[in-house]
Amino acid sequence: MATILLDQVRKVYAGNVEAVKGVSIDIADGEFIVLVGPSGCGKSTLLRMIAGLEEISGGEIHIGDRVVNNVEPADRDIAMVFQNYALYPHMSVYDNLAYGLRNRGVAKGEIDSRVKEAARILEIGTFLDRKPRQLSGGQRQRVAMGRAIVRQPAAFLFDEPLSNLDAKLRVQMRIEIKRLQKALGTTSVYVTHDQLEAMTLANRLVVLNHGRIEQIGTPLDVYEAPATTFVAGFIGSPAMNLIPVKAKEGGLALETGEGLLAPNGHGVAQAILGVRPEDLVLATDGVAAPGGLSLEMTVIAVEPVGAESYVHGTVEGLKDDIVMRAGPKTDYAPGSRLKLTAVPEKLHIFDAQTGARLNA
């Protein structure tokens, strides 16, 4: 059990590639932190610096009450689960689990009871004698987890551990990891590019982009009040509609000057207005919500996904399509025109230049 503190951590690779640009995170004991962001944003680099597999170019990393910048991976009291599992192919499952304990000189009896206990928890007891190649993807994943938990480390580090599994197994393992982490209460840092995985696992999310933190917060906070246009577009599926707007007498309008969209509560000349697909509704009798958004959309296509449908359409003067969530059996002919609205509390306003959130 330990806290982890990152203080202005930086990583510059050979060739002056700055992969992580001054990241600070304060991770509480027992917390489940998920680092999420698009591929190449520096998630793995950050995690590997915590693990000690990558040298730290600047800043400090604390695990517990130690600065670990110059501590060997083995002495950081962490365990890591790799994307490709990294099981030792020539060793049995039992030996894979026992390897780390043997290296640390744990007594034989103790090793045996810890391995059996981990195997029981993860339900891999029946194939302790098998080699990794004789296991399915999901079973390998469990063994990799087992190797982490037998060590009883201060922290777990996960680098996209579920991305090699099929969709169904991924959901199942996700729930299991969450349950296990809760039961053990071990501080965890989990890397993924899958925003849904991130939302469902995290106590707190850290959204990364180009080696910088865009936002830290609980999944709900991040979803309901994204700090930047990047976060707004990255978290949530389908993504939030982001509409460039400019000030006009009486409120914000499309850049062409057409169609009043929303009140201008921030006194800006230009802005990005965000609205989630589920917050867009049909204006009853063509009347927009008081003080809210008003938009006329021409339907391109309706995408039914079972429990709901997504209506894609264009708005005159707007480059990108708009997406609205609708009920399960929605059926609009392409070309139909819909009057949409959203209540003012559901509108997100971002700075046109910096992308930073303007409303509270």
């Binding site: 000690g52 597999l53 991976p73 890591m80 990294a86």
Partner: protein, 294 residues
């Protein structure tokens, strides 16, 4: 998947295309091999005037000949010595190079150059370096208090041909080991590091076992090399001497045929060598077929 089938109009063309390969195999392999088999059951008189069929007598003579048995023993020491020396050095170099390059291919190609040095040249090189009167290596060894003289001391001579023969194999072994090392996922080594294994322990418990298919393959290749492909090295370095102390089987075949003119005995020796290479090849295929043993 569908493969496009290319057909030739002229029915004879395929045969024409494989003909050179067939000819080479026939002239340089099948024909000499059958000649050796044929000769091994014949005996000629000293003047080459009469030849008679003697059955397995040549073989019986061989195994009763203390010189031949001694040559067998020397060959064993030589083969194992050469194999372990060249593989050991190559593995050490590969581990060091693996750490430095991590995927830089240009450098790897450059490392195969020593392999292109003709064996006879390499042999002469070693002969010079260890020459008791003018060689730098011999001088250095003498400075360390050992009286090196491979022209008198049979053990020195054996060590010399082992070094000379191993030298030539190092770059070949090196490339295979390096390729083997680079195919081990980095995350395995990292997992072991996190699991508290020292670099030394990581090597012996993770890397070395994962290299075992490569090592086994190289073991057979090097044994075959030491048995059959080292004539020129021995010829240029010690010429089998002093006495018979470095007269390995493949060298003795030549010596008995062309210096002692014992064609029948020499042919019998060739046949035995052929049997050994066939045995090694069978072992090779048996185990390589089974693939990676983990």
């Amino acid at each position: 998947m569908q493969t496009k089938r290319i057909t030739f109009k002229a029915k004879g063309l395929p045969y024409l295309l494989v003909a050179p390969q067939l000819a080479v195999t026939l002239v340089f392999f099948i024909w000499p091999a059958s000649q050796a088999l044929y000769q091994s059951v014949l005996q000629q008189d000293a003047f080459g005037l009469r030849t008679e069929f003697v059955g397995l007598a040549n073989f019986e003579n061989l195994f009763a000949d203390p010189l031949y048995l001694a040559s067998f023993k020397v060959t064993m020491v030589f083969s194992f010595g050469t194999t372990f020396l060249s593989m050991g050095v190559a593995l050490m170099l590969a581990v060091m190079a693996d750490r430095v390059i991590k995927g830089a291919t240009g450098y790897k190609t450059f490392l195969i150059w020593p392999y292109a040095v003709a064996p006879a040249v390499a042999g002469v090189l070693w002969w010079f370096m260890f020459n008791p009167t003018i060689g730098v290596a011999a001088y250095a060894i003498r400075q360390m208090g050992y009286d090196w003289n491979h022209t008198i001391d049979g053990n020195d001579a054996l060590i010399l041909i082992i070094i000379a023969a191993a030298w030539k194999q190092i770059s070949y072994n090196f490339l295979f080991f390096l390729a083997g090392l680079q195919s081990i996922p980095r995350s395995l080594i990292e997992a072991a590091a996190i699991d508290g294994a020292s670099p030394f322990k990581r090597f012996w418990t993770i890397v070395f076992p994962l290299l075992s298919p490569t090592s086994f393959f190289l073991l057979v290749v090097n044994m075959v090399y030491a048995f059959f492909d080292t004539f020129s090295v021995v010829h240029a370095t010690t010429a089998g001497g002093p006495g018979q102390s470095t007269s390995i089987l493949v060298y003795k075949v030549w010596r008995d045929a062309f210096e002692s003119l014992d064609l029948g005995g020499s042919a019998a020796q060739s046949v035995i060598l052929m049997l050994i290479v066939i045995a090694l090849t069978v072992i090779q295929f048996r185990y390589i077929e089974r693939k990676v043993e983990y």
